[in-house]
């Protein structure tokens, strides 16, 4: 099999490739942030009026630690009561599974094609 001769890449083309990669990377990081889709927010679902350590469900030892850290029941209220929401839809879960499986399938498939070419050139046929 004839050996594949890669073309030499010029400076400008190299630069364009780098710019493309950087733009894609920054996009992947910042687009979810700009769209406001990022992050798991905690929220207080059941606020307590006039909180005390007891109504915040803290025993004496726990309350003592909060006071040592400089909290009062008022200032610790949001910190103690906010919770994550773990509810999710099956549809979203399935979408994620499909995306991940598809992704690995895609790269393994293409890799295999490229790999056979590498091996046949390296070990000669």
């Amino acid at each position: 099999m004839a050996h594949y001769q890669p073309p030499a890449q010029g400076k400008a083309s190299q630069l364009i490739d780098v710019v493309v990669l950087v733009v894609l990377t920054v996009g992947a990081l910042f687009v979810p942030i700009w769209l406001g889709l990022a992050g798991a927010a905690k929220s207080v679902t059941a606020p307590v009026a006039n909180p005390t350590w007891e109504s915040l469900n803290q025993n004496a030892a726990q309350a003592a630690r909060y006071e040592a850290l400089g909290f009062t029941p008022e200032s610790a209220h949001d910190l103690i009561l906010s919770r994550f929401d773990y509810s999710f839809s099956i549809g979203a879960l399935l979408t994620m599974i499909v995306v991940i499986v598809l992704y690995y399938f895609l790269i393994l498939r293409f890799s295999e094609v490229e790999y056979r070419e590498v091996i046949s050139e390296k070990f000669g046929e």
């Binding site: 050996h3 992947a28 990022a38 630690r65 393994l108 790999y115 590498v118």
Partner: protein, 478 residues
């Protein structure tokens, strides 16, 4: 080829096959340990406590140990492959030889992003620490953290630029200090030396598993943070004096160190800080070990852990620059990225162009994005990489069975670790999905796009057969 005087003092280190400037082989097993543990140990000083917030203190401990199993598999698998494929680029080079070019390109990007994002997270934390110190010493108003974030990245990049031996010796010293600080904190707060301040039973009362079982799953997401980055030891392969011996030794010693450090950290922090405070890394405990020291009432411990935290962030950022630049360099050398990046500095013998190029990238992330996003992107890239590893080892054993090539280390119980790793990765994907599903899909969307870009455009510049550099026989089944 240009004529070069081989007796020249400025261009030394002439290698075989016309190689004139390669990376320098100067490192020993201790440096490998320092690189691996140095990157990760910061996870004990900050970030892991998000796992407590996700499911409570017990959930965090279970996540810590499950992630410990996951990473033990990672370390074992990695040690075997890398003791055989010893080359800068680590998992990237492994993937190139074992799975195929596109996988290698993806793995290379996982590495660069996981490390560059982690570096950014470290710089953000270091900047925050400086502002805390400023407030403690009586500075009025908010300190501008940006110059300190930039300084951390610039200084460590400069150190990396100037040579690998000094860089990793520096890492060895500050990592050992940070690890010793955890041990001292454990001894002095647990009641072994002096009076203890721990009260696990009372602090856990009524809050054992605040989210129930799903909380345990969810906390696995940040449980990875206890160990994320230990796989980076392989990046040093081309600079270690005896890779077949030093890499498995350094990596396995590293994971053992981390298992101890992670468990002690959980024990100390959960026994002193209430879980709601501990688990909120933004409004509550940004640096849990440091907060524990504050409650101990000892000024000495506060300073010790303050410096421990700072050193841990520096060691981590330092190792990240080292690893990310090695991976970027290795891809440039193979023309997976523009070949311009595959250059080695003739005097310092470092991949200097890769180091310089990644500085502004790290700055964009450190100055432009919130901490938990940056951490999540780092974890996601790491997780994609861990999913690749079991596939890698299964194919490695199939294409080159045990006696067909010489291995520096053979991991036991194959394929059990691979299967375990793959299933733990699946569970962790679900954990990430619970909090950060959108980012997960955005991230994979990004990798799909760049994969297509690579396959249909970039790969034409790559030499096909020549990129396979290991002196191995033909793989079975081809």
């Amino acid at each position: 080829m240009t004529e070069v005087d081989i007796t020249s003092k400025t261009i030394d280190g002439i290698g075989p096959h016309g190689v004139k400037v390669g990376l320098l082989r100067v490192l020993g097993p201790a440096h490998v340990w320092a690189l691996g543990v140095g990157i990760v140990l910061v996870g004990e000083y900050m970030g892991w406590n998000f796992a407590v917030g996700k499911g409570g203190a017990y959930a965090a401990l279970i996540a810590c140990w499950f992630a410990g199993i996951l990473y033990t598999c990672v370390a074992m698998i990695d040690s075997e492959v890398t003791s055989t494929v010893a080359s800068a680029g680590g998992q990237y080079t492994q993937a190139k030889h074992i799975v195929g070019p596109l996988m290698a390109f993806n793995v290379g990007l996982y590495l660069v992003f996981a490390y560059t994002m982690l570096e950014a997270a470290n710089a953000i934390t270091a900047g925050y620490l400086v502002s805390v110190v400023a407030t403690m010493t009586g500075h009025e108003g908010d300190l501008n953290q940006r110059p300190f974030i930039i300084l951390v990245i610039m200084f460590l990049a400069w150190l990396n630029y100037r040579g690998v031996l000094a860089t990793l010796t520096f890492n060895l010293v500050i990592t050992a200090f940070a690890f010793a600080a955890i041990l001292i904190l454990f001894l002095s707060t647990s009641g072994i030396v002096g009076a203890g301040i721990m009260d696990h039973a009372a602090l856990f009362e009524g809050h054992a598993l605040p989210y129930g079982w799903i909380g345990i799953l969810a906390s696995l997401h940040f449980g990875l943070w206890f160990y994320l980055g230990i796989e980076g030891t392989t990046q040093a392969a081309e600079e270690v004096r005896s890779p077949a011996r030093a890499l498995p030794f350094g990596t396995l010693a590293g994971i053992m160190t981390l298992l101890i450090a992670a468990t002690l950290t959980w024990y100390v922090c959960s026994g002193v800080l209430p879980w709601e405070f501990l688990g909120d890394g933004v409004n509550g405990s940004v640096a849990p070990l440091f907060d524990t020291a504050r409650l101990s009432g000892s000024t000495g411990l506060v300073w010790l852990l303050g410096f421990g935290t700072l050193f841990a962030t520096l060691a981590s950022a330092n190792g990240c620059i080292n690893d990310a630049s090695r991976a970027w360099f290795a891809m440039g050398r193979d023309k997976y990225l523009p070949g311009w990046f595959g250059a080695v500095h003739p005097r310092y013998r470092t991949p200097y162009r890769a180091i310089v190029f990644l500085v502004p990238i790290a700055l964009i992330f450190a100055l432009g994005a919130p901490l938990d996003q940056v951490i999540t992107f780092s974890i996601l890239s790491g997780l994609l990489g861990y999913t690749f590893m079991p596939l890698n080892i299964i194919l490695f054993r199939r294409k080159w069975p045990l006696n067909s090539i010489k291995r520096g280390y053979e991991h036991p119980f194959h394929p059990l670790p691979a299967i375990m790793l793959l299933s733990l990765c699946g569970v962790t994907f679900f954990a990430v999905f619970l909090g950060y599903g959108t980012q997960l899909v955005a991230m994979i969307g990004f990798y799909i796009v760049v994969s297509l870009w690579f396959h249909f455009w970039r790969y034409r510049f790559v030499n096909r057969g020549a990129q396979f550099t290991m002196p191995w026989p033909k793989p079975q089944g081809y």
